[in-house]
């Protein structure tokens, strides 16, 4: 930035002074990103609670001056072996969720009002404790789980990239043949950057189903026996990052 100052001995006209002040004003008012040095701004200059692409104040909303945080997380402390979810529904394969059981203690829905988000990227994480099967188990059987979501109160969409399975195992523990004790965790993204305006993430769900994995030993089909996997704990959370200046 430079301003031409008046020289000693020159006659200064009113217009000259106005011109020079205009130079200062125009320069300051047109200050752009490239005119600022690196490390000019720190987190202290940003308003708290605006780090994430959210408007409104859903339950669990983290007010933070930092650049990231958990936007919403499940109340996992109240979800343990005393409140297990039994997966009774059987599925025919890993992509057809013709039958599923909601793992409702881990549903995120903003206390029923959802979350006002901007288009961008929703980063989701879940973990589950697959504790046991209700009765004696079989090593052909699988527990399938994954996430789904609803936007603007619309149809439930399966986040197929989040779907995984764990196979049952024959426990070596002598006291209970039904124990599995598998812990699973998964991160995945829901890309909403193609949307053109803010939206409501109505709910984010976790679903479970059981797969028989074959007809050997007579356990084929989707309604095999009365033996069901049980989820005895877990955690579910998401972050939302804005990608547009809507």
């Amino acid at each position: 930035m430079s301003v031409k100052p008046p020289k000693a001995g020159e006659v200064i006209e009113k217009a000259d002074v106005e011109d020079m002040f205009d130079v200062v004003r125009n320069t300051v008012n047109n200050l752009k990103q490239e005119n600022l040095g690196r490390a000019t701004f720190g987190p202290q200059h940003f308003n708290p609670g605006k780090a994430l692409a959210v408007s409104g104040s859903p339950t669990g909303y983290i007010t933070s001056a930092t650049t990231s945080g958990i936007l919403e997380e499940s109340d996992s402390a109240s979800f343990d072996y005393g409140d297990m979810v039994t997966i009774t529904a059987g599925a025919t394969n890993e992509t057809t969720w013709n039958g599923h059981t909601d793992i409702s203690p881990l549903q995120l829905n903003g206390s029923g009002s959802g979350y006002a988000l901007h288009p961008g990227m929703i980063v989701v994480y879940y973990s589950l404790r697959i504790k046991n099967w209700t009765t004696d188990n079989h090593w052909h059987w699988f527990t399938m789980f994954g996430g789904s979501y609803k936007i603007n109160g619309g149809a439930e969409t399966m986040a197929q990239q989040s779907v995984n399975v764990v196979r049952n195992t024959i426990p070596t523990l002598p006291w209970a043949a039904s124990i599995q004790e598998d812990n699973v965790s998964f991160w995945y993204c829901i890309d909403t950057s193609a949307r053109t305006e803010p939206f409501i993430l109505t709910e984010l769900n976790l679903l479970g189903a059981k797969l028989s994995g074959g007809t050997a030993n007579g356990v084929g089909g989707t309604a095999f026996t009365s033996c069901d996997p049980q989820i005895a704990g877990g955690y579910h959370m998401f972050l939302s990052f804005k990608s547009h200046n809507y």
Partner: protein, 247 residues
């Protein structure tokens, strides 16, 4: 940030030195402006230009193991979306098919959060009608610019000659490996690696059926089937830093 010169009053006599000093002062203020001249909480994060603050990158392969209600997993090379973990070939980069591992060039240093989530499955041992488990112990690691950060992923080196604890022990696993790194400005690439360490059985009597292949195959012709990475997702969250951490 803003500088307001006194200027000339009505009927004031313009003193060239005084006026010049005002412009010099304006120049000094503008040139010396740094973050401390800005008010606390002066800006809204949502007003930032797209892609300058936080960048989320995602890559992966969305696939199942081929399980159905009437059939077991299809873990052979017939299921092309699976990655067959190489045996006794060290760590090799997991294939992402038509997708690419996250790679970028950053003008600024960044704090990078990297997490790799994957489905692991094997058919050997406890297979459908087969024998007790073989201790295959696959390892899965994150690689940042060709370097494998310690501590992320099941890959401990056996210190006592035993295989236990040196890799994934089960028939299936669904888990996430996470690491954070501070990367300088420049080009970077993040990927995931996998490999099978040496297999071992717990007793000679277990050396039957499916894992006979693991025990009898020549090391130059190792078994390649049925120990796989299935569904896999890499998520990278990059936080730009104007300077080094702590400054």
């Amino acid at each position: 940030m803003l500088y307001f010169p006194y200027g000339l009053y009505d009927s004031d006599v313009a003193d060239p030195d005084k006026v010049a000093n005002e412009f010099q002062e304006a120049h000094r203020v503008a040139s010396d402006t740094c973050q401390y001249q800005f008010q606390s909480q002066a800006f809204n994060h949502t007003d930032l230009e797209r892609g300058t603050h936080v960048v989320v990158m995602s890559a992966g392969v969305q696939t199942g193991l081929g399980i159905s209600s009437t059939g077991p997993p299809v873990l052979t090379t017939a299921n092309a979306d699976l990655f067959q973990i190489p045996y006794a070939r060290g760590l090799q980069e997991i294939d992402l098919g038509s997708d690419d591992w996250p790679a970028w060039t950053s003008e600024y240093p960044e704090l990078v959060f990297v997490t790799f989530s994957f489905q692991y499955a094997e058919m050997a041992g406890w297979a459908f009608g087969a024998s007790p488990p073989l201790e295959i112990r696959p390892r899965v690691r994150i690689s940042i610019d060709g370097t494998i950060p310690p501590g992320a992923g099941p890959a401990a080196r056996s210190m006592d000659g035993l295989e236990r604890g040196t890799g994934l022990p089960g028939l299936t696993a669904v888990t996430s490996i996470t690491t954070m790194a501070f990367l300088d400005a420049g080009s970077h690439r993040v990927s995931a690696m996998a490999g099978q360490g040496s297999a071992a059985v717990q007793a000679a009597a277990e050396a039957t059926d499916e894992y006979t292949a693991w025990l009898t195959a020549s090391i130059d012709n190792p078994p390649v089937d049925k120990v796989v990475i299935g569904n896999r997702q890499m998520t990278v969250i990059r936080f730009a830093r104007g300077g080094d951490l702590g400054k």
